[in-house]
Amino acid sequence: MAKVLEGPGMGLMKKWGIAVPHYVVVTSAEELATLGDANDWLKKSKLVVKAHEALGSRFKLGLVKVGLDLRGAQAAAKEMLGRQVGSITVSQVIVSEMVPHKEEYYAAVKSTREGAEVLLANCGGIEVESNWDRVKKLAVVVGDTPPHDALEKLAKEAGFSKDLAKKVADFAGKLFACFDNEDAQYLEVNPVVVRESDGELVALDAVTLLDADARFRHHDWNFPFAAEFGRAYTRHELDVMAVDSKIKGSVKFIEIPGGDTAMLPAGGGASVYYSDAVVARGGKLANYAEYSGDPPDWAVEVLTEKVCSLPGIRNVIVGGAIANFTDVKKTFGGIIAGFRKAKAEGRLNGVKIWVRRGGPREKEGLEAMRALRDEGFDIHVFDRHTPLTDIVDMALQQQKN
């Protein structure tokens, strides 16, 4: 899943015919002033200024300001830009017109196994959270388009009056078109409002999650995807992502501050069982990592260097199931090179390394790992006869003693 910020998210909705308020995304107060000269609405409307970053609870953080004129908006932008929240620096703000309205509604389209679900409620904002039973759903099988009648019926079920139900159905149809054509995984508009000036339904806020795997057929996705963690990616994480995008197979790396058990396991499935084992034994994960699909040795070496550079680690878990086609000797070659580099840089002092693996060329790979003992590594190597996660038990048992 790939999260998209409000600006590009609203852009996609607009593309599919959904009315959205006027908005601009700017990186400086001066830019906003210049845009004010060109856009009438910036001078005439009341404005909302929001930090345009992947941050939760922006309101609480003072990163949403409402009811401003252009001058006030400039001041708010100036104040927000450059603010540091956790690991995220506010580098963009989105400035949009306030749309005078009375009622707020809710509309969403959500991915399901069979296709999608259209969700409608005749309440919006925070009210919908506490009245989830008022949300009415319509299932749509993939490849189908919900007929207008069905959407109108759904709107009526959700409590919209006759005239409004038609408009809501029309809005939901456009939202579905956007979902279906843009390879979205989740689209949520909360609130949907009736614009007082012309009675049209307008999307005031958008949550957009897209299927990053579909990027190859959306050449107009010229925006970056936001980190899903509520924090920015670290430099090391970005380095590994850059490697990952270049290779056959994959390497993944996420830092978890404060942990002392470093993870360097193979396989998207096994890696999570290893993480589970660490947590189950009372250990603290220092990271998540994973390599799979027979990646080149240099990519595994980069991953290893990143894992070894984690602060305060006491154990490194080089786990893995019995590989189908990942060459154990080759990938271990990358890990060994990474270990050597780390050691030469003075890392891994007092750190225990635990290895368990099987697969093509397992004998040679495990033998090479065992040989690291002669180079002064505190390494413990096990083969397929030791159950998958036993090395975690051993590592954490020793750590306790």
């Binding site: 196994r113 096994a270 589970d276």
Partner: protein, 608 residues
Amino acid sequence: MSILATKDTRVVIQGGAAGLNAARRMAEFCYMIRRPLNVDAFVYPPDAGKTNEVPYGSGLLTVPVYKTVAEATANHSQINTSLVYIGADRACAAGMEALNDPKIQLVSMITEGVPERDAKLLARYARKLGKTFNGPSAIGIVSAGECRLGVIGGAFDNLVACKLYREGSFGVITKSGGLSNEIIWICSQFADGITTAIGIGGDAYPGTDYVTYLEKFEQDPQTKAVVIVGEMGGELEERAAEWYGLKKRRIKLLAVVSGFCQESLPKGMKFGHAGAKEGLKGEGSARAKAEAFKKAGAIVPDTFGALGPAIKAVYEELVKSGQVRPIPDLSQEDLPKLPKTVEEGMKAGEVMVTPLIKTTISDDRGDEPCYDGYPASELINKGYDIPHIVGLLWDKRLLSKQEAEIIKRIIMLSADHGPCVSGALATIIAACAGIGLSQAVAAGLIMIGPRFGGAVTDAGRWFKHAVDNKMSVDEFLTYMKKAVGPVPGIGHRVKSVRNPDKRVKELVSYVKSLGIPTPHLDFALEVEKVTSAKKDNLILNVDGTMAAVLVDLGFPVDSLNGFFILARTIGLIGHWVDQKRQESRLIRLFDYLVNYAAPKRREVPPLK
């Protein structure tokens, strides 16, 4: 018995290199169970009309590549299954093409990163047609003793270690490819092994869910228990639990679910497979799934490590109740073996091979080449030079500094002789005709022969003959006139006594200044005295001088032309690069440079 992948499964593989690799793995399995290869065809438009070679035992099988699935099934009527190894952007179309073929009942897709919408469309279409679509991101399906689809099961040694040559009693369904293999191994160590293992892929919406396969396993009498390796995210595990709990089932169900670590991670931090994501409202957590399985009566070990003993307990119960009869293990010598490669056989001392060629100068098998036993880098680091490499590779000896200096000078003096000589001219003409470097240089080298540059060997041979036989100059010239002809190394087209060749003077005076014995050079110079007195241009030429000096240094006669070839190659490369740099155009002779002595134009007589 087994499900999905059986003895009757015949396969078309859609894909290029990755598909071919899978076919090779599948051939190993077929060989292990002594059945013919189950891959009948490939579909890969870029290679359509060609064939792929798949090793089977000690031989090679040839499998045709087609442009479309329809062509493949038209030519191979037994095909009923397709494996898709096509990139994510074309995977959907490839899967649809396979599903559309009336002969194909099962499609398994290994491609990762397929858009969710595509996966759902494929699943829907398969359901509509009553076919099975497995994947995407699915490692494959293997039925012990019957059929392997894809690379599931890993290398040959692992197939044997996991006893996949004969069926056991456990079915396996996993999302993860690596863990499917791990469970197959566990089932073979803690129980009697598997019937069928299926990787359904770790995406958010696998084409076929656990329930579909559980129902098939329930119908397969050989399968007594099924192991599910689940992951957090989605609701497939809950549905499987629901199915199991609905009524009394014949099969026993064991299940583990990963993702418990999420509970103690910072909020919003998710990892693992694409499908391993909690719902927006927290549904699909590992704990919820494990609880659902427990509630339905499945055996749910606390950790992955406890799965082995749990499987063992189920197996022992099955044996005790008489549902399963233990299968005796094969003895070491009865285990299936893959034929060894020649290299492996030689390593094991089992085969002897008569070498095809023999070399006495060079060995490249280490981390760097050794010339006559000396590592190249060590020669460099100890100050040796190019002439020493010539000495090692041409005459298998380490030259002295003095000898190397003479060789160096010979190369420097003969590196080039302008654009007009046969060799350079040929190279230049070729370069102007747009011919590449190696061919153009070869054109120049071809000119080296009895009349141009190629007299060194012959000159050396006859000077050596004379010195070895202690001939006087007169005896030598008489002998040459009678038995050979003109003396090689004597005579020049343009140089003469009055217009001497400075290269010769330079080389002669340097070698003489060293004070080393030079019997052949001395003899050659005596010969020149006599011949040049007879005719002005019958001087010792550069070929003859080089020849005499090199024979004096002890180089074998047959290597001598090599010095000219080596040296002049430098010049020829220079001429080619020079023409290239100037972007020279095609050249041809002018008419006035040709004496047209052919008959005048005349009428062609009628054909008789």
